[in-house]
């Protein structure tokens, strides 16, 4: 419990830093926000511009703007989109489920492909199976996810026709959602799968040589039981670490993958907002990304104690 409080307290300055970075980024951006808000309206008079500036608060000193901004963000107010004039937070909340779904599916792919592959490679060490697995892992680690997604579209959607190509399906229809999810999830999940496979392999190799595994084996436990009950549990920590660290990569990958598959989601929201120079939206979205990554890492840290009772946070 004390650890939890401490960990939360350490996260606060980081979150503040994230907010500050978002603020700074937008304020070094070229262009007059008022002009961006008014966008394509023709015949804007200087008076109107001045009024919009005042309403946005951009005419005030930078320090004042910063304090106002931080306190607004703290109250959950991320401003309004330049483009649609909708609340940024509302738009983000509307798109977030698609990205969360995609990311979770990516994690599932990563774990359910990576862990078994790592086990096979470790148990069959120095055999062709091991080399093949590790080579594939290395190739996956070296492939850009957008390109991998395109290959998947080409093979499984265009050639074989198994999956739909674009969009995310319709909410409520789980079958359509699932079908639309398979390829993008594979596209963002394979890199983490490769990392997890390598991690699992090396963690298992380390564990397999330890005394308690030898003891379990000597007791006459079957290989599979030794592996599952004793070895794998101890290999869980590195895998968990990868998942925690890679969540940022997966979320970042969602930005690209959503574009490849024309899926709605936060990634597409960010990219569209950048093209439209919709700064409040960019600002809000990257902040939401960063804060969720911090939260996931917090969760991962805490879950170490659950997975491995030896980990005690004093």
């Amino acid at each position: 419990m004390r650890y939890l409080v401490h960990r939360l307290l350490v996260t606060i300055p980081t979150v503040l830093g994230v907010i500050t970075l978002a603020f700074v980024l937008i304020h070094i951006a070229p262009g007059d926000p008022a002009e961006l808000v008014l966008g394509d309206y023709i015949g804007v008079t200087p008076e109107v511009l001045a009024e919009v500036r005042e309403r946005l608060g951009v005419d005030r000193p930078l320090g004042v703007q910063y304090v106002t901004y931080v306190s607004r963000v703290a109250r959950g107010d991320l401003g309004r989109s330049f483009r649609t004039n909708q609340l940024v937070l509302a738009e983000i909340a509307g798109q977030a489920p698609f990205t969360v779904l995609l990311t979770l599916a990516g994690v599932l792919v990563a774990v359910f492909v990576g862990v078994p592959a790592g086990i096979v490679a470790a148990v069959r060490r120095n055999t062709p199976a091991d080399y093949a697995t590790m080579t594939v892992a290395m190739v996956w680690l070296s492939s850009p996810s957008f390109w991998f997604g395109i290959l998947l579209i080409y093979v499984f959607a265009y050639r074989l026709g198994w999956f739909p190509v674009f969009g995310a399906g319709t909410w409520g229809d789980w079958r359509s959602l699932a079908l639309h999810l398979v390829l993008p999830a594979a596209a963002i999940g394979v890199r983490s799968a490769a990392l997890i496979a390598r991690m699992t392999r090396s963690a298992l190799l380390e564990v397999l040589g330890q005394d308690y595994v030898r003891t379990a084996r000597a007791k006459g436990l079957a290989d599979a039981a030794v592996l599952l009950r004793h070895a794998l549990r101890n290999a869980a920590i590195p895998v968990l670490t990868i998942v925690g660290l890679d969540i940022a990569y997966l979320l970042g990958g969602a930005v690209v993958t959503e574009t490849v598959f024309s899926r709605p989601g936060l990634g597409k929201l960010v990219v569209d907002a950048i093209y439209a120079r919709d700064y409040p939206m960019v600002q809000g979205a990257i902040m939401v990304f960063a804060v969720s990554i911090l939260l996931v890492n917090l969760l991962v840290d805490l879950s170490y104690a659950v997975v491995d009772p030896r980990v005690r946070y004093a």
Binding site: S142, S143, F146
Partner: protein, 314 residues
């Protein structure tokens, strides 16, 4: 990679078969040396084709030939085929190496210089400065690499220089953390004490004494990070946030091809293979360098993403 790490670090596996292990180990060493050498060769080929692109490329990469659109790869004037403007894909591929490698090397150099400076200062002086610098690193790490780069490009605008800055700044964290860690272990060493006793100032101790000792891991990390940066650059180019067309980059070549995926899949597939092979080469070469320069690091920064050492910059 984990393969060699296990050769030295792991204790005897429970299930060892003596003769096979000997053969397995030497096979593995051979494979590893070969893979590092192959990596070096591919890196060299990529660098040479970037440097001498005008002499190597069979045609002008931007010349459009409307009569020769969408030719598939075949023997003849266009060995890798042509795109929808009839531009020769091999020539575009050769020229595309320029952007990828330039961004890869320059961004990593930016990240290494700033990261090393932050790590040196923080690690050496400690205290409030260290806390501040490491908070900055934490904040940078809260963003997915690609998203941070996107945000910076969005603010600064596109173009080669901004692209290198964006990717470079986003890649600072692993360098800062690596160097800081090294400094912390070196700081208490006798030679540092001796230098200080002889009257050397902080700058001199850091620059002349500590920095050279952190050089090998720095070189290894840099090589491995080039691959991550190339992946990031190609993603940005793919999203249209990189170097402006018609300058060919591997990323925008893949993007160009997506519209013709059903009829002319090679347009997207070919540049993706180039990215994959180049990234793979940097990974293998970096692994080999690590084994040669800094065996201590085995298995620690073996993940191309620097997941272990870099705290998981993706």
């Amino acid at each position: 990679m984990w393969t060699l790490a296990s050769a030295t670090r792991e204790p005897d596996p429970a299930r060892s078969r003596a003769p096979r292990r000997g053969v397995g180990r030497s096979l593995r060493t051979l494979w590893r040396r070969r893979s590092a050498a192959a990596g070096a060769v591919v890196v060299a080929v990529a660098v040479l084709s970037a440097l001498f692109a005008p002499w190597i490329a069979p045609a002008d990469p931007t010349q459009q030939r409307l009569l020769e659109r969408l030719r598939p790869p075949a023997l003849g004037p266009h060995p890798l085929g042509t795109d929808n403007f009839g531009r020769d894909l091999l020539s575009r591929l050769v020229y595309g190496a320029r952007v990828s490698l330039l961004v890869g090397v320059v961004s990593v150099a930016i990240a290494a210089v700033f990261g090393a400076a932050m790590g040196l200062l923080g690690g050496y002086y400690g205290g409030g400065l260290d806390t501040l610098l490491m908070r900055v690193v934490d904040v940078l790490m809260a963003f997915p690499l690609i998203l941070l780069a996107i945000a910076i490009v969005a603010v600064l605008g596109g173009g080669l220089v901004n692209l290198m800055l964006a990717v470079g700044i986003s890649s600072i964290p692993p360098f800062a953390r690596l160097v800081r860690g090294e400094v912390l272990t070196q700081r208490g060493r006798d030679y540092v004490e001796a230098a200080r006793a002889l009257g050397a100032g902080g700058g001199r101790v850091m620059g002349r004494h500590i920095l050279p000792n952190t050089l090998s891991p720095l070189v290894v990390l840099s090589t491995l990070r080039v691959s991550t940066v190339i992946l990031t650059e190609s993603s940005l180019s793919f999203l249209g946030l990189g170097v402006t067309p018609p300058t060919p980059t591997w990323g925008n070549m893949v993007a160009d091809g997506t519209k013709f995926l059903q009829t002319a899949p090679w347009i997207s597939i070919v540049p993706g293979i180039a990215i994959m092979i180049t990234v793979l080469a940097f990974n293998l070469f970096g692994d080999g360098l690590r084994d040669a320069l800094d065996p201590r690091l085995k298995g620690d920064i073996g993940l191309p993403a620097g997941a272990a050492m870099g705290g998981g910059r993706r």
